[in-house]
Symmetry: C2
């Protein structure tokens, strides 16, 4: 991916103003501009104001913040989580490049969760009111936007299935299979990748404790299904993981 050379005049952190361009972005086959022709992509580019860098552990938005933008992840990884009244956090998703953040905020005009970068990341800011104006003129864009929202709904339904019905082993296998396929869709190896999140974050997402995750990793390693080195994962037996995730663990 070609990065324009930058001269940085004392940049305020997080506020790097770089022209975002969908046509030049390697993610445009997965992201919002999918399927647009040159002309329409230019019109989309015109409303995307700037790219914004978020450092590791930096917050993109917080629950309760006024909703003005959607964010397309251009680079890096994020987590989103809700905080309940008791202060407990529940991670509702891990997002990677090409995915859209903030769709849950449309309903109440305020963000419904926190979004935090798991590593140094970059997003494209998409002012939602201007995007809505574009919808009237580019039906393809609108349709694809609906697909992305719908996809978020089905993704969450799958997590509900996971949290409601699966045992620990199955949850964790499903988690790995999911990551694997998403990396594959981005042209990365489905068998060798880095976990960008801590054991604790994985556990939180899966409704398990950090200790359980650690034990599962150890066991999967011992069984020869994985090679594990800190956050470096090598999947040795993808078929086995898939069958575990499908629930045929004990059969």
């Amino acid at each position: 991916m070609i990065q324009p050379i930058q001269v940085l005049p004392l940049p305020t952190v997080n506020m790097q103003v770089l022209r975002a361009s969908c046509s030049a972005c390697s993610m445009h086959q997965l992201c919002l501009p999918m399927g647009l022709d040159e002309a329409d992509m230019t019109r989309l580019d015109a409303i995307i104001g700037r790219r914004r860098r978020i450092p590791r552990d930096g917050t993109l938005y917080r629950m309760g913040d006024l909703f003005t933008n959607l964010y397309a992840i251009r680079l890096g990884h994020f987590k989103t989580y809700q905080v309940d009244v008791g202060g407990e956090q529940q991670i509702t998703g891990f997002q990677m490049a090409g995915e859209l953040l903030g769709m849950d905020a449309i309903s109440a005009d305020r963000h419904h969760c926190d979004a935090v970068a798991l590593e140094d990341s970059e997003v494209c800011e998409i002012p939602f009111p201007r995007l809505e104006e574009l919808f009237g003129n580019i039906p393809t864009l609108l349709h694809h936007f609906h697909r992305m929202m719908s996809q978020e709904i089905t993704r969450e339904q799958s997590v509900m299935l996971l949290l409601g019905n699966m045992r620990a082993e199955q949850r964790f296998a499903a988690f790995l299979v999911n990551l694997s396929s998403r990396y594959a869709a981005r042209g990365y190896s489905p068998t060798n990748f880095q976990l960008r999140m801590s054991r604790e974050e994985i556990g939180n997402y899966l409704g398990l404790t950090i200790e359980s995750i650690s034990r599962l990793l150890s066991r999967f390693k011992k069984e020869g299904w994985l090679r594990v080195n800190n956050r470096e994962i090598e999947v040795l037996d993808p078929a086995m993981l898939k069958s575990l995730a499908a629930g045929s663990g004990s059969c």
Copy 2:
């Protein structure tokens, strides 16, 4: 609600062709036409083809069915559930009048779950391609549609929080509080209502067993927080339920 008098010429079940009219529907303040003026509501009415009756336990659509329509519930209650490879079902939601069914199907052009009526019900069929055409002309409608999809996303996130973080008692209290507030929004009593779903379905939804639900009901009754008679619920201590749902159960 005024029902037009019908002469029924050997109606095929489920295929009752009745003109649906948003303007005459008591749910239009909650449903898709929310906020539309007379003229736009008429245009929406024009594309809504028919009302369809679904008897108790009748299937509105099945996972894998081609996606052609959204459905607005006019009357009655539904459940949606996913079936995993092992044949286990996970209920992903209970829907009531004024709510929209089928939004999860947009992403893949096929339904992603089954929708089944919990009692004799009626829906309005909304052909999605025609709705999309309308979006170009009625920005208010589009915006509200986005709010409804977004609301579904936040709803599911709350269920993830529930399934991932809460203990049984808290889950069940949250479930009751949720039902209560939805009935209130529809002008029904928030303290006296009928459960339309079985104990087993509640348990499935909450990631618990039927026995646990039964025990929780007995305990809530014993504590004096509820009066229970089969599926008839009377909430005696709404504040207590809310505080349980918020996680201050043991404090």
